[in-house]
């Protein structure tokens, strides 16, 4: 079990440092501290800025972190299962079925994306877009996306499909060992919304399938899960902030609602310029107060 050790506001890039693989469930406190410290030092140009977590004694995040771990594993299980359906359709040459399974399967991944991003090469292997990696290394969902939508075929994708399923299974195995603490939750929630701001809102994520709204919604849901878990502590520390975040989630969902279509969402291409802008502004309106959830980590 993991308790908060350091009250860093850990930048996204440092998630890797905050997530530590341990061979067993036991904590190697010294090791964790060192990893986090050196990460922060690098980000600050070598200056170690350490804040002992003395003031956080009152806050107990045990329940929240354990529940989040359970959520991550649950999402991961579903992700593997849905990816399997998807890759089977690809290999069976069922173009339309594969197209239909693509976006819903990805949502399980998008809800826990920062966790996956922290796990080394897994994120690029699963989720790299065409120009994110060298052409020879490109694999994963978006390679198949290009075939399914641009080339309108499943041909030549069998190997990529097999590899994708293996990568998904590897992710499921590795998340078991991820150590989760409160600062990871806080940072992860903001990171999920930043994902939306920087690639989903612009329509760059799903450039062939235009299923960006699925990713958009999943990222928001992933952030909301964290907010729900931290809500009791947040309400104690800053009730107004807790209320504001809740209202802004509701406002964003209301803004997204008209774009629902059946079980899924309309093509991102169907959105008008001003609709995209409004979604983006609602997202910013939510992310701003959400980024202050770190207040529960003590001063």
């Amino acid at each position: 079990m993991c308790r908060l050790k350091f009250s860093y506001a850990v930048p996204a890039g440092l998630l890797a440092a905050a997530i530590v693989f341990t061979g067993c469930a036991a904590n190697d406190k010294g090791g964790n501290a060192a990893a986090t410290e050196s990460g922060a030092a690098a980000a600050n140009g070598g200056t170690v800025t350490e804040t002992p977590a003395a003031d956080t004694a009152a806050a107990d995040f045990t329940a929240a972190t354990e529940q989040y771990r359970a959520y991550v594993i649950e999402q991961c299980d579903a992700f593997v299962k849905e990816t399997e359906h998807f890759t089977e359709a690809v290999k069976a040459g069922k173009l339309e079925e594969a197209q239909g399974l693509y976006a819903p399967a990805r949502m399980y991944y998008e809800r826990i994306e920062p966790i996956a991003e922290a796990l080394g090469d897994l994120d690029p292997n699963i989720d790299a877009r065409e120009n994110d990696v060298a052409a020879a290394d490109w694999r994963g969902f978006h390679k198949i996306e290009k075939a399914l939508w641009q080339d309108q075929t499943t041909k030549g994708m069998a190997e990529t499909a097999d590899q994708l399923l293996k990568d998904a299974q590897l992710l499921r195995a590795k998340v078991e060992t991820v150590e989760i603490d409160a600062s990871l939750l806080v940072t992860g929630a903001v990171e999920l919304l930043n994902e939306v701001s920087s690639s989903k809102v612009t329509g760059e994520e799903e450039r062939y399938s235009h299923t960006d709204l699925y990713d958009f919604v999943a990222n928001v849901e992933g952030a909301q899960k964290i907010y729900e878990l931290l809500k009791p502590e947040l309400a104690k520390k800053d009730a107004e902030l807790e209320k504001t975040i809740g209202e802004r989630f509701a406002a964003l969902h209301a803004e997204l609602a008209p774009f629902k279509s059946g079980e899924g969402y309309v093509s991102y291409e169907a959105l008008k310029e001003e609709e995209v802008r409004k979604l983006s502004q609602n997202l910013d309106a939510l992310a701003e107060p959400l980024s202050n959830m770190g207040t529960i980590l003590g001063v």
Binding site: S7, T244, V299
Partner: protein, 435 residues
């Protein structure tokens, strides 16, 4: 030299200035206004493109230190009579909330932030907490206040059905009527609220708008912004008349800001002018005027001068040699034609000489027009007046109808705002309206 200046000149000449405790701002204003002899005459009245000096911009040249603080609190808002700073970042906001208490909360939060921003202090109290994003974005940390002013106003749309304020809308606060030749793009028009940020440092001005927009998230969003500049004090230490992007001296006919009675006549609303909440406030007209500079650059000097009615080099009326010579529209050449063409910008802006407004415009450059590959550059015209109809609209109708300059410009943006009365210590922006 106008009659208002003489006492000041004598003041300085007598040396009595030294005996009085004047603050730095007074000193700047006095020297800017009369020590350098740059004041307007009584004749030239401002149009969109003035051609002669105004007091505010001349004073700019004298302030190179960037260290001055312009008080945020007072009976009128700063950034109106304040001598024009080097840079402008103008922002129009749209409210996204439908709740009046949230609008009030935003203006209260902006008030607190504005007091910090204009005095060079960091916003908020979470600037050292490692667990939180800093409450101030930090790019102005350690910079001088740079005479930063923030001026707030309400657009006509604030008084629509959303907030129950319709009964408080001043009759004159409405979208400007269409003017001949307008080519307005909605993306440069209107706004529920505006903030005019001016400073002698562009980063300081940008920082202010950026942070106010951040504070507004969830309540209001940026609708449009425009950065503006004029020549800096450092580039023109003598404080001579600034030139617009057409190369002509600009800033004509502004009334004297140190003349309180004149400001009460031209700029400030009195309690009898309209709704009581506007007493001490003023109306702002904003026009984004794109200049067809490529076309202008191909016209002969004589055409350019006939367009303005003035000589380019000196700024003097055509036929005169002194920049500050009276604009005499009756002077004729040998063939009996007026030397200053009646449809020149100066002649039309002058009109019958009775209508004044306080102009505080900045040049802008916003990259390329992707369609033509030409520069999108021009003027962000800003004027303050007590009465939009009698002052700005009357003048602009005259200019739009026949100004020779119209060939070289197109109005692409338009907005009007009611600038709130000054903010007293402990009060908040717009308090007289929102209670």
């Amino acid at each position: 030299m106008s009659k208002q200046n003489k006492p000041m000149d004598e003041h300085i000449q007598n040396g009595s200035l030294l005996g009085k405790k004047l603050n730095r701002r007074d000193m700047l204003r006095l020297t800017g206004a009369s020590g350098l002899g740059l004041l307007l005459g009584g004749s030239a009245i401002g149009g969109i493109m003035g051609t002669r000096e105004n007091t505010p911009s001349s004073a700019v040249a004298l302030d190179n230190t960037g260290g001055d603080i312009i008080p945020f609190h007072g009976s009128h808002q700063a950034g109106i009579l304040t001598p024009a700073q080097n840079f402008l970042v103008f922002a129009a906001f749209d409210l996204t909330t439908v709740k009046l208490p949230e609008v009030r909360k935003l203006l209260e939060s902006w008030t607190t932030a504005a007091a910090s921003l204009t005095s060079g202090k960091l916003i908020g109290d979470a600037n050292d907490n490692l667990n939180l994003p800093p409450s101030d974005t930090g790019e102005a940390d350690g910079l001088q206040p740079s005479r930063c002013t923030l001026t707030f106003g309400a657009g006509p749309s604030l008084f629509d059905a959303r907030y129950g304020l319709a009964a408080l809308r001043p009759a004159q606060l409405a979208d400007l009527p269409p003017f001949a030749g307008d080519s307005l793009d909605p993306k440069w028009c209107r706004g529920d609220l505006c903030v005019q940020a001016c400073a002698d440092d562009l980063q300081v001005a940008f920082h202010a708008i950026r942070n106010l927009a951040r504070i507004a998230r969830g309540i209001a969003v940026l609708r449009w912004t425009q950065e503006g500049f004029q020549r800096t004090g450092a580039a023109d230490p003598k404080g001579s008349t600034p030139r617009n992007l057409l190369g002509f001296k600009d800033g004509t006919g502004n009334p004297e800001v140190s003349d309180n009675a004149e400001m009460d006549r031209v700029v400030w609303n009195s309690s009898s002018d309209g709704p009581a909440w506007m007493a001490g406030g003023t109306y702002m007209a904003v026009r984004r005027v794109r200049l067809r500079i490529e076309v202008w650059d191909r016209s002969s000097l004589s055409d350019q001068e006939a367009t303005f009615g003035r000589h380019r080099k000196t700024g003097a009326p055509i036929g005169a040699t002194d920049e500050f010579a009276e604009l005499d529209l009756k002077v004729q050449d040998k063939s009996g034609k007026p030397l200053v063409p009646p449809d020149s910008h100066s002649a039309l802006a002058h009109g019958d000489g009775t209508v004044k407004m306080l102009r505080r415009s900045y040049s802008y450059s916003s990259g390329l027009d992707p369609v033509t590959g030409q520069l999108d550059a021009g003027l962000l015209f800003i004027s303050f007046q007590r009465d939009l109809l009698k002052q700005f609209i009357a003048t602009q109708q005259r200019l739009a109808a026949s100004d020779r300059l119209n060939e070289y410009m197109v109005h692409t943006g338009s907005a009007v705002f009611a600038c709130f009365p000054g903010i007293r210590e402990g009060g908040y922006i717009g308090q007289s309206l929102l209670g």
